[in-house]
Subunit: 169 residues, 2 copies
DNA sequence: TATTGTTATACTCTATAACTATA
DNA sequence: TATAGTTATAGAGTATAACAATA
């Protein structure tokens, strides 16, 4: 109920002193605010880094998981990426259309497709990982290994607070 | 160029052993991946917390900044929230339509509007902050103060790597 | 009956260009 | 000329329902 000391200007219908800068002291109390702002930077820079390869964040993540888990099914990939099966279809269409992966019928369950990378897919995987490593070097800007581990631990802690799937946002 | 030891299954067009679970070891090398997953959880839970108040993440942030910086202009708010002026219009419309804020003409610059909270706006601000504090308690799940500060420092470091505006993602 | 992949649809968020009224 | 707010529009991202084929 108490209000932030620093932020507040004066009371009702105050004048908009133009040159003055906006205080976000109240929002900065919250860790979620900092995460959101940082994530915006990460996302923007990552997409820039992936653009020359014709990839976006989702298509990149999907390609990596398919190369690392060849033969997995669309439903498994959808769950791993935390996207709806329906929305994954166009992502897979895109990767398949560029001959980066193949959709292979599963003999033992003819409803399902096994996703496998092509040679081109594996090559793009290597280039994408190099690009993303460069991107991380850029945005981390000399962050210590200790801090990195602390962040990863903290993010995992937050992730655990949710039951599992995190949609609905 | 080297490949993750843990992740890889066998080679070309392998079988999709159904029960097996998907490895994201390669992606977990990257801090951005952890931030994204955590942010998804934060966003989903925050929106749940704000729903009873009729607020979303943006409208909440906008309301907080308007209460803390009464009299600021839309363009200032747009910059502070890192959204386009054009997209802020509907957000402001929404808050104004609910009589949480007012758009007041600036006498010294008749192009601009000064944004001011109403009494109802200030009251909802208080309730929203309470709700968000509860949300943070929930998702942080006993994170130590030390870790929190480390995370905030790390997120600020990432934010600094960008020139300022972080759009284009 | 349930599940896999699919289509269609809708709703949010975001980016861009162009307009108006003022400066 | 430039700026503040606005409108319109298009592209992502995402959620839901319903369908065909298969289990």
């Amino acid at each position: 109920m108490k209000r932030p000391a620093a932020a507040r200007r004066d009371a009702a219908t105050s004048a908009p002193e133009a040159g003055q800068q906006v205080s976000d002291d109240t929002l900065r109390e919250f860790i979620g605010y900092h995460i959101k702002r940082a994530f915006n930077v990460v996302q923007a820079d990552l997409n820039q880094a992936l653009k020359p390869l014709g990839l976006r964040m989702v298509t990149y993540s999907a390609l990596v998981l398919i190369v690392d888990n060849p033969g997995l099914r669309q439903s498994q990939l959808a769950e791993a990426l935390d996207v709806e099966r329906a929305n994954l279809v166009v992502i897979i269409d895109e990767l398949e259309g560029r001959d980066l992966i193949t959709r292979d019928r599963v003999p033992t369950d003819r409803r399902a497709y096994a996703l496998n990378p092509t040679l081109a897919g594996r090559r793009l995987y290597d280039r994408a990982l190099e690009a993303v490593r460069g991107h991380e070097r850029r945005i981390l800007n000399g962050m210590t290994e200790e801090t990195k581990l602390a962040v990863i631990g903290a993010m995992s802690l937050i992730r655990q607070s949710s039951g599992g799937g995190s949609k609905g946002g």
